[in-house]
């Protein structure tokens, strides 16, 4: 054996001993505490520093970035770049390395930054990039930018000014970051559930459930990866347990919405799940949303017209803001029609039901936020149809040149009456989601002044794609009982496949959410929506809404009168 080889072996053995020591140390000190602070309190304070950039004193963290730029924790935080899970991020050419406990407290080889302790024997002997962090070297890294090998890290990593106690808390938090196990996850299985509320029709239920069950039972990792794993070949850290099988439970919620929470708790207690996929209700999703928030359960693309509208970035990801998005778009569209609007009074007519309330609220909130006076509201009682002389009376007042009619297809005869009235308002806005296919039978006379909110890809743009998907579904014997719902499920699968594959063995909810947030914009196949996109904290994938009009004639088409996004 040459001296060099012997030297290498000794060095390797020493490094492995260090690695082992590092792991043991990490395990031991993970149990350790910050002096004078309970474990829970230390984790809470550490999380606030890491995620919100706020010190235990309530002051923002202070740091220097890029060598000479002073910054504070309320401008950006550790979690901005390293993410809540600590698994890091990749943005263009800028890579932020993982800093979860397992990565920090293990030595790192030069090969793809994989912890040495978890590598196959073959790769274990490769040169170290850095030894495992200790509490001391971790604190030094945050204060000086030096890694445990004494190497200066990128100056994009800020240098922090922290007291010893605050540093101890942050180190303790990092030591515990993404270390636990998640509900619904075993070495061989990953469990999901889907929620269906009692009033949903059988056809709609099947339209949501059949493609989802097909997707779950046919989930496969790449053939090459599977063969390699089964043959016992070299498997990179993070891949082995991708062989987990997915399973899906169906959680049916019965009775009034007030009882749903208890039912959800009971389902969750009996069979904890990693996340909720799809799901459907004709009512509000709020009780399920709240349940997911409280248990930190990700929920991806429930089908509902009434998502919870919030900017707080919880674990529920919606396809869109539902009806709220239409009211919002109407306000922005009218705001930009400066030629038409010189503070002309606006009238909203809606029923006192969920749809009417949401549409009118969305319009009013957006309209007033744009600096306009609140619209006048005329609320029809639950089942009330506009009276025969409703439009006539409106006509006599004739001050409302812009009328928003948030009414569904049952009010259609009343809309036809409007067409016969003496003078139409200049602009009538209707919701295409409420009218459904009846919108195509609007009388010719109305079409000049009627504008419709249309929060979907235009039929002429999506027809061919939908036909292809229908063919594929039929080939696999998946019934299409409600195409609109089935196509929304297609959006779910388009969004889900990337994160599910990329999560590999790092099956943590925060990481799953981060991978969803980092999914590239989907705009290539505009099936239901022209574009689906996320970003950190974004929770509504489709953000636009066309304002359209109908062409003349017996077979009208929709013509865009606005951009998809109306600023």
């Amino acid at each position: 054996m040459s001296m060099k080889a012997a030297g290498t072996r000794v060095l390797t053995a020493a490094l492995l001993a260090c690695a082992f020591h590092g792991t043991v140390m990490a395990e031991t000190s993970r149990q350790g505490m910050v002096a004078g602070v309970s474990r829970e309190e230390a984790l809470r304070l550490g999380e606030r520093m890491y995620r919100e950039g706020i010190l235990p004193s309530g002051e923002p963290l202070k740091a220097i970035v890029k060598g000479d730029i002073p910054m504070t924790g309320n401008q950006f935080t550790c979690a901005n770049c390293h993410q809540r899970s600590g698994f890091g991020s990749l943005e263009g050419t800028v890579r932020t390395p993982p800093i979860n406990s397992a990565q920090l407290y293990a030595p790192l080889s030069k090969f793809k930054g994989v912890p040495v302790s978890r590598r196959s024997a073959l790769v274990r002997e490769t040169e170290l990039y850095r030894p495992a962090y200790t509490d001391e070297t971790l604190a030094r890294a945050m204060r000086t930018g030096l890694d445990p090998a004494g190497r200066q890290m990128s100056t994009t990593m800020p240098i922090y000014f922290l007291s010893d106690r605050d540093m101890d808390i942050l180190v303790f938090y990092l030591k515990n970051l993404s270390t636990g196990s998640e509900a619904g996850v075993t070495d061989t299985a990953l469990r999901f559930a889907t929620v269906i509320t009692g009033e949903v029709s059988t056809a709609d239920r099947e339209a949501m459930l059949a493609p989802l069950q097909y997707y779950i039972s046919n989930w496969r990792i790449s053939r090459q990866m599977e063969q390699s794993a089964r043959a016992g070949g070299f498997v990179q850290e993070g891949e082995a347990r991708e062989l987990r099988r997915l399973s899906l439970s169906v959680w049916e919620l019965k009775g009034p919405a007030e009882t749903w929470r208890a039912q959800l708790e009971e389902y969750y207690r009996k069979e904890p799940v990693f996340a909720l996929l799809g799901g459907i209700t004709t009512g509000e999703w709020a009780p399920v949303h709240k349940f997911c928030e409280d248990h930190k359960v990700p929920a991806i693309f429930p089908i509902t017209d009434f998502p919870v509208i919030s900017g707080s970035g919880g674990p529920t990801f919606y396809l869109s803001k539902g009806l709220y998005q239409e009211g919002e778009a109407a306000a922005r569209f009218l705001h930009r029609k400066e030629d038409l609007l010189k503070e002309i009074p606006i009238l909203q007519v809606f029923r006192n039901d969920r749809a009417g309330r949401i549409l009118s609220k969305a319009f009013e909130e957006t309209w007033t936020s744009l600096g306009h006076a609140a619209p006048e509201n005329r609320v029809l009682a639950g089942g009330e149809a506009p009276a025969a002389d409703f439009w006539k009376k409106l006509d006599e007042k004739s001050k409302h040149r812009v009328v928003l009619l948030w009414l569904d297809s049952s009010s259609f005869p009343a809309l036809e009456n409007l067409a016969r009235s003496r003078s139409l308002p200049d602009v009538v806005v209707l919701s295409s989601s409420l009218l459904g296919n009846r919108l195509y039978s609007l009388p010719d006379k109305q079409r000049q002044s009627v504008y419709l909110t249309y929060p979907y890809s235009l039929p002429q743009d999506s027809r061919a794609y939908k036909a292809n998907i229908e063919t594929a579904l039929k080939k696999n014997n998946i019934p299409i009982t409600n195409p609109d719902i089935t196509f929304k499920m297609y959006s779910l699968f388009s969004m889900l496949t990337g994160p599910l594959s990329r999560m590999r063995t790092y099956v943590y909810r925060d990481y799953f959410i981060e991978l969803l947030e980092a999914t590239p914009d989907l705009s290539v196949i505009p099936v239901t929506y022209p574009r689906l996109s996320f970003g950190t904290g974004q929770r509504y994938a489709s953000k636009g809404c066309y304002i359209v009009q109908l062409t003349d004639g017996p077979r009208p088409e929709l013509v865009k009168r606005s951009e998809w996004i109306i600023q």
Binding site: V65, K66, G67, D68, I69, P70, M71, N74, Q75, F76, N80, C81, Q83, S89, L90, E91, G92, T93, V94, T96, T155, T156, S369, L370, E517, A518, P520, D521, R531, S533, G535, T536, G537, Q538, K543, G544, E563, W564, I565, Q567
Partner: protein
């Protein structure tokens, strides 16, 4: 003779200083600097106050202009670019308003005027720093014109563009830089 020796010493000192400074610059220079010609499209965008802005008017005024491309829900690149703009504004405080800073959103769907205004506030932006959004088509045209277009916003570039009012060319700085580096580039542009 004595004079000659002094001159030689001075020469050696200067040469080594130059070499040192070059080595220093070479070691620390973490960005690429190129001179570019761009055909800026004639588009109207919307600023953080919801006001329509002609991009050409904003970029071709009598002020030096700095441009970057960011989005409000970005992870790493944008916060570092933006904190640099903020620090730059603070650093040249005696010349407040002398430079026009422009951030152009690469995520117009999410970046409404309201979101952009909150973002500027987070970075304590002073007047003279505008954040622009617009229609997807207009934004794409702008990004393509400045050669920073990517189909996926998460693959975007860490780029700052600088232009003097007296020059038609743009300085393109590629890479995340500190304020001192930005000031060096700014001084070069101002000359």
């Amino acid at each position: 003779m004595h004079r000659k020796q002094t001159m030689l010493l001075l020469y050696l000192l200067l040469t080594s200083l130059c070499l040192l400074s070059e080595a220093w610059a070479g070691r620390d220079k973490t960005y690429q600097r190129t001179l570019e010609n761009y055909e800026v499209p004639d588009v109207t965008l919307i600023n953080q106050d919801g006001v329509k802005v002609s991009l050409r008017k904003l970029l071709f005024s009598d002020k030096p202009v700095l441009v970057d491309f960011v989005y409000t829900s970005c992870t790493t690149i944008c916060p570092v670019l933006s904190i640099n703009f903020a620090n730059y504004q603070k650093t040249i405080i005696e010349e407040r308003g002398a430079t026009q800073l422009v951030s152009i959103s690469i995520d117009p769907e999410f970046d409404t005027p309201k979101a952009m205004k909150a973002y500027l506030k987070r970075y304590n932006a002073e007047p003279g720093w505008d954040f622009l959004t617009g229609s997807r088509d207009d934004i794409s045209r702008v990004l393509k014109a400045f050669k920073v277009y990517t189909q996926n916003k998460m693959n975007h570039y860490p780029v700052i563009l600088l232009k003097s009012p007296s020059d038609t060319r743009w300085v393109r700085v590629y890479g995340l830089i500190g304020t001192s580096e930005l000031l060096v580039e700014y001084e070069k542009v101002r000359k």
